[in-house]
């Protein structure tokens, strides 16, 4: 039996998936552009704004479905998760924009060692991919794995902090810009973890403590 609420839930799911694709691409483009010393801030700003608007639309639709149908159980958990997940995607957009701003702020960084950012970026991108896949495939096991990956990005970020603390005056620009980006990636990884947690909650009803 198709319920009236199912139409709203399907739209909510599709909007969230649209956000997933856009946010993944936005983060990926921002990281790659930094590594290649390419200015993409204009594009990233546009996509980040789109994500923010989409998040508002998800929230509005979620509230409408709640008001109209008073969902409970798995329906209620799904709606709550869509709101949380869409917030995560909008944060991806925002952090991607922050990453894209680094080049503009610091100028030419082409001579800098970007290996830590590259490593953390790959890990964060993988976490985003997995969190999205777990959402679209309703895969709680995959979602739980995202949480386990978070510590890798945390460790790389701490490594960046240590590097910055020991930095010489002439390396200042490279280490501070890298540290900023690592900080953004660390936050992105946290949000990917939260998205995984929301997927687990949708399926099992279990909630993980926020970091």
């Amino acid at each position: 039996m198709v319920r009236l609420m199912d139409i709203g839930l399907e739209r909510l799911k599709n909007m969230t998936i649209d956000m997933a694709k856009l946010s993944e691409n936005t983060v990926s483009t921002a990281i790659d552009a930094y590594i290649q010393s390419k200015d993409v801030s204009g594009e990233i700003h546009k996509w980040s704004e789109e994500l923010r608007i989409l998040q508002d639309e998800v929230s509005e639709l979620a509230v409408e479905v709640i008001a109209r149908y008073q969902p409970v159980a798995s329906d209620l958990r799904f709606i709550r998760s869509c709101m949380e997940i869409s917030y995560g995607f909008s944060r991806f957009g925002r952090y991607a924009y922050d990453i894209s701003q680094v080049l503009g702020t610091f100028g030419d960084l082409s001579k800098c060692d970007k290996s830590l950012v590259k490593k953390a970026g790959e890990q964060a991108k993988e976490m985003i991919r997995m969190s999205i896949k777990s959402f679209t495939g309703r895969d709680a096991e995959l979602a739980k794995k995202v949480r386990n990956m978070d510590s890798v990005v945390d460790e790389i970020y701490l490594q960046g902090v240590e590097n910055a603390a020991k930095t010489r005056q002439d390396d200042f620009k490279c280490s501070v810009s890298a540290l900023l980006i690592l900080r953004y990636l660390e936050r992105i990884a946290d949000h990917a973890t939260y998205i995984g947690d929301s997927v687990v909650y949708t399926i099992t009803g279990e909630r993980s403590p926020r970091k």
Partner: protein, 252 residues
């Protein structure tokens, strides 16, 4: 936390038809418990087992133990009339006595119990009407007929009548199903207030009502207790697939 009721493997029949199958549950004192489930699942039958009203139906019978304050109310030496006096009951349709005034509708139980002192009766009527959130609306019209009131007021009058005899438990069988949303909201507010002094068990078809007012919810299906849990977890994350199917409207 003391249990007001402890239901142990209760079966109930209407003739050869079994209406309840091995129901076991405990109901805490000063709590509100909602019983939900589709039509014919045994909700009302279970409610009527709590005050031994089920057995009033010809050919109806009950087995198992149902402890009320630790005493099995189905023991041979228990007087069902005495048990019923300790529990007020409110039905789907408000049923004030049509020939009686508002005052007499509330006082009738006390009068039947032998109370004749007018001051005592007046005090009990006022107290009960206040507890039922009806006093302010009727205090200048106590001699008017009970059926002159609106549907929602009549239902609150019936609740006041039940409260007047100082019961320990209030059993409610779909008390709002014939009421509009405003009257329903007043009854729900009243139910929430009742649990300070009484243990409330409410049968309802309206799942949102169960979610709004109850502390615990029992889901019955085909005479069996499928799930019984605290209300919020049950509506957020039911443990049983059947509960999930029913409360999300995916049934059938």
């Amino acid at each position: 936390m003391a249990y007001k009721f402890e239901v142990e493997q209760v079966d109930a029949w209407f003739g050869a038809k079994q209406a309840l199958k091995q129901i076991s549950m405990k109901i805490k004192e000063n709590s509100i418990t909602a019983i939900i489930g589709p039509s014919g699942c045994g909700k009302t039958t279970l409610l009527r087992c709590f005050n031994r009203m089920h057995e009033l139906v010809p050919d109806a019978r009950v087995s198992g133990r149902l402890l009320f304050d630790g005493q099995n109310i189905y023991d041979d030496d228990v007087d069902p009339v005495k048990i019923r006096r300790r529990m007020g009951m409110v039905f789907q349709r408000a049923n004030p006595f049509p020939m009686m005034s508002i005052f007499d509708n509330v006082a009738v139980g006390l009068k039947m119990n032998g109370v004749r002192n007018k001051a005592k009766l007046r005090e009990a009527v006022e107290r009960s009407l206040k507890r039922a959130y009806l006093w302010d609306e009727v205090n200048d019209a106590l001699d008017k007929s009970g059926v002159s009131l609106s549907g929602g007021q009549q239902q609150r009058l019936c609740i006041a009548r039940a409260l007047a005899v100082e019961p320990e438990v209030i059993l409610m069988d779909e008390p709002c199903s014939a009421l509009d949303p405003t009257a329903t909201a007043k009854i729900e507010q009243l139910i929430m207030g009742l649990k300070e002094q009484y243990t409330v068990v409410i049968v309802t078809h309206n799942m949102q009502q169960a979610a709004r007012v109850s502390d615990y919810t029992a889901f019955l299906y085909l005479g069996e207790l499928v799930e019984y849990a605290e209300t919020v977890p049950l509506f957020e994350n039911p443990r049983m697939e059947l509960t999930e199917q029913y409360i999300t409207g995916k049934f059938g």
